[in-house]
């Protein structure tokens, strides 16, 4: 290997720290990142602004950057603290919202499906990535094929199946289609398992350890970072599920947040949504996931990649 003089401007690309002064490339990078952050986050300001507005004044004050007729009514509606009459007077609907029940249901639904899907999918992904068996790749292609199935195909038959199992309007019935796997999870974990270093596994095998032990004691711990990422993404996806819980969880005891907050959407044809209520509901239902990310986000930050070598 030859050594050639490298230009100082490349220091930004170098992974090892060279305490160079700030250069223009770095500045541009920060500016671009700031723009990306702004675009991602600013619409949330608009959500907040609308949530703190009064419905009747929104249209007239469309150019104002501040809330139109500051009003906490929307949040009250979300938490079910307004009476039906008050709600209707403010342009909301008169339906009741059992907020904490819905929140609990969403939490339960998302947690159970995430735990199940990530765990079982990891197991299956391990089988597809590391184990050798006849027909492995054929079956994997079949599993991958499920990603291609338009959801319209599966919605009605799954509903019928859940009904025939007597599990309509139950949490079990709601989680069933997602509990055992999601195609994305299998695909995702398999890609990571393929990339993992085999050294530790090989050492363990030479020591006579069985696949079962290897999976739980070596592979999974090493895959902590991608698993955490997958779990977070799956949880967020499940948290925002709407159509399936709408079909299966119609009673108060099983309704999830996204369905319960459908009350803020337009109730009648040609009507307008309860904008402030809807925006308040969006903020409130996004908060638990934000908190989750705040707590578990560090785990992803402190990842050591997934090469597996310690």
């Amino acid at each position: 290997m030859t050594t050639t003089a490298t230009r100082p401007a490349d220091s930004r690309r170098r992974p090892f720290r060279t305490n160079r002064p700030v250069n223009w490339r770095r500045t541009i990078a920060w500016v671009l990142l700031a723009v990306a952050i702004a675009v991602s986050v600013l619409p949330f300001y608009w959500v907040l602004r609308t949530a703190l507005s009064t419905n009747g004044s929104l249209a007239a004050n469309s150019a104002s950057l501040l809330p139109a007729d500051f009003n906490l009514g929307a949040f009250k509606r979300v938490f079910g603290l307004q009476t039906a009459a008050e709600a209707i007077a403010e342009g909301g609907s008169g339906a009741s919202i059992n907020f904490w029940q819905y929140l609990w249901n969403s939490l339960l639904f998302s947690s159970i499906t995430t735990a199940g899907a990530v765990f079982f999918s990891s197991m299956a992904a391990y089988a597809f990535a590391r184990l050798r068996w006849k027909g492995r790749d054929g079956v994997f292609s079949l599993f991958l094929g499920t990603m291609l199935v338009p959801p319209i195909f599966t919605a009605l038959p799954n509903f019928l199946l859940v009904k025939n199992l007597g599990l309509l309007n139950s949490m079990l019935g709601m989680v069933l289609p997602y509990l055992f796997m999601t195609p994305f999870a299998i695909f995702f974990m398999r890609q990571f398992f393929l990339n993992m270093s085999r050294e530790v596994e090989e050492a363990a095998m030479l020591d006579g350890a069985k696949h079962w032990r290897i999976f739980f004691q070596i592979v999974m711990p090493n895959a902590a970072a991608p698993i955490a990422t997958l779990a977070l993404l799956t949880f967020m996806g499940q948290w925002n599920e709407y159509f399936w819980p709408l079909l299966v969880g119609t009673t108060e005891e099983t309704r999830v947040l996204t369905v319960g907050l459908g009350v803020f959407k337009s109730q009648a044809p040609q009507g307008a949504p309860d904008w402030s209520g809807l925006m308040a509901a969006t903020l409130v239902s996004a908060t638990p996931v934000l908190i989750l990310f705040a707590i578990f986000g560090k785990k992803i930050v402190n990842s050591i990649g997934f090469n597996g070598t310690k």
């Binding site: 990142l33 006849k134 027909g135 319209i152 993404l233 996931v289 990310f293």
Partner: protein, 319 residues
């Protein structure tokens, strides 16, 4: 660092030593076909879910595509008549064109932006706060994000057009103009997903060991060529994952269209999945809708197959 290249098909015993490209390690072959029993155990739960909730409905759907079925009656076998109708249906071809247009715009935009953001994050800032900020759009349900943008991009009273007017430019009918409708849908979806996609790519970037970059810079490689010749190829498995998933997801766009333009203006956003929904549920022609869904499924299979083949996503170049 060891890699495993995938070879399809049976014949397991000879795989080990021949396939793996290792750096001076003894070839350790995991015991041939004896893995079958343990493999079945590992896959069992996922297999159950797969069969019950994906395979059976799909088979049923394929069956229904050969029938005339209005959900509330009984399916009536009519052979391939649905498929013949599809071939002559101008709305189907329109849907195909419109969806493809959407996919191309969405993927190009989303992947480029996500890649850029991931690189920026990797080089410049790794903090959880920034990552969280970029992930925030994903916190909104698809439908809510669509409604929000529907409101913000409104021609008459949306804030974005207000800003455009302040800048002295003519207002844009984002959802109403036939030229802008699909790009606007793509923009909304990109907005929602770019942080999420960036996170995926970012995780992949972290897997590339520093040693590679060190070697590159010692060799005198400049930033741009390091990126093209080293970073990008090493990102291949993750990029393929991202591309396959986002392309397939884009072909299935539905939520945002259903809640905003509902196929309009005229037919500019009548994408495949929405058209299927329109026929199957609104117009109660479930047999025809199923046939359309089967065609969509085949298209996706083809696209996925091409992608996997050409991008060789199962390999990693870490060597």
């Amino acid at each position: 660092m060891t890699t495993l290249t995938k070879q399809p098909g049976p014949g397991l015993s000879a795989r080990g030593p021949q396939k793996s490209r290792k750096r001076g390690k003894p070839g350790a072959d995991f015991r041939g076909t004896g893995d079958l029993r343990i493999a079945l155990f590992f896959i069992a739960p996922a297999m159950l879910g797969f069969v019950l909730f994906y395979l059976v409905p799909t088979i049923r759907g394929i069956y229904l595509s050969f029938t005339e079925y209005s959900i509330l009656g009984d399916p009536e076998w009519i052979g391939t008549r649905n498929y013949e109708r599809i071939a002559k249906d101008p709305l189907f071809w329109n849907a195909l064109g419109v969806t493809t247009q959407y996919v191309i715009i969405n993927i190009a935009l989303q992947t480029a932006l996500a890649l850029g953001i991931a690189l920026l994050m990797h080089r410049v800032a790794k903090s959880t706060l920034i990552r969280g900020a970029l992930l925030m759009p994903y916190l909104m349900a698809n439908v809510i994000a669509a409604l929000l943008w529907f409101w913000m991009l409104d021609y008459q009273i949306g804030i974005v057009n207000q800003l455009i007017e302040w800048l002295g430019l003519p207002r844009v009918a984002f959802f109403g103009s036939e030229q802008w409708a699909i790009p606007t849908q793509a923009l909304i979806n990109t907005w929602r997903h770019m942080g999420y996609t960036a996170l995926l790519i970012f995780a992949g970037l972290q897997a590339i060991p520093n040693s590679v970059y060190e070697a590159a810079s010692i060799d005198g490689s400049k930033a741009v060529s390091t990126f093209w010749r080293i970073t990008l190829p090493l990102l291949r498995p993750v990029l393929v994952l991202v591309l396959v998933v986002t392309v397939i997801g884009s072909f299935q766009v539905f939520d945002t269209v259903a809640v905003t333009t509902a196929g309009g203006p005229v037919n500019a956003t009548r994408v495949l999945q929405f058209y299927i929904y329109q026929r199957a549920f609104n117009e109660q022609d479930f047999g025809y809708g199923s046939a359309l869904a089967v065609i969509l499924f085949l298209i996706l299979a083809l696209v996925a197959f091409i992608q996997m083949k050409f991008l060789r996503g199962n390999q990693s170049d870490l060597d």
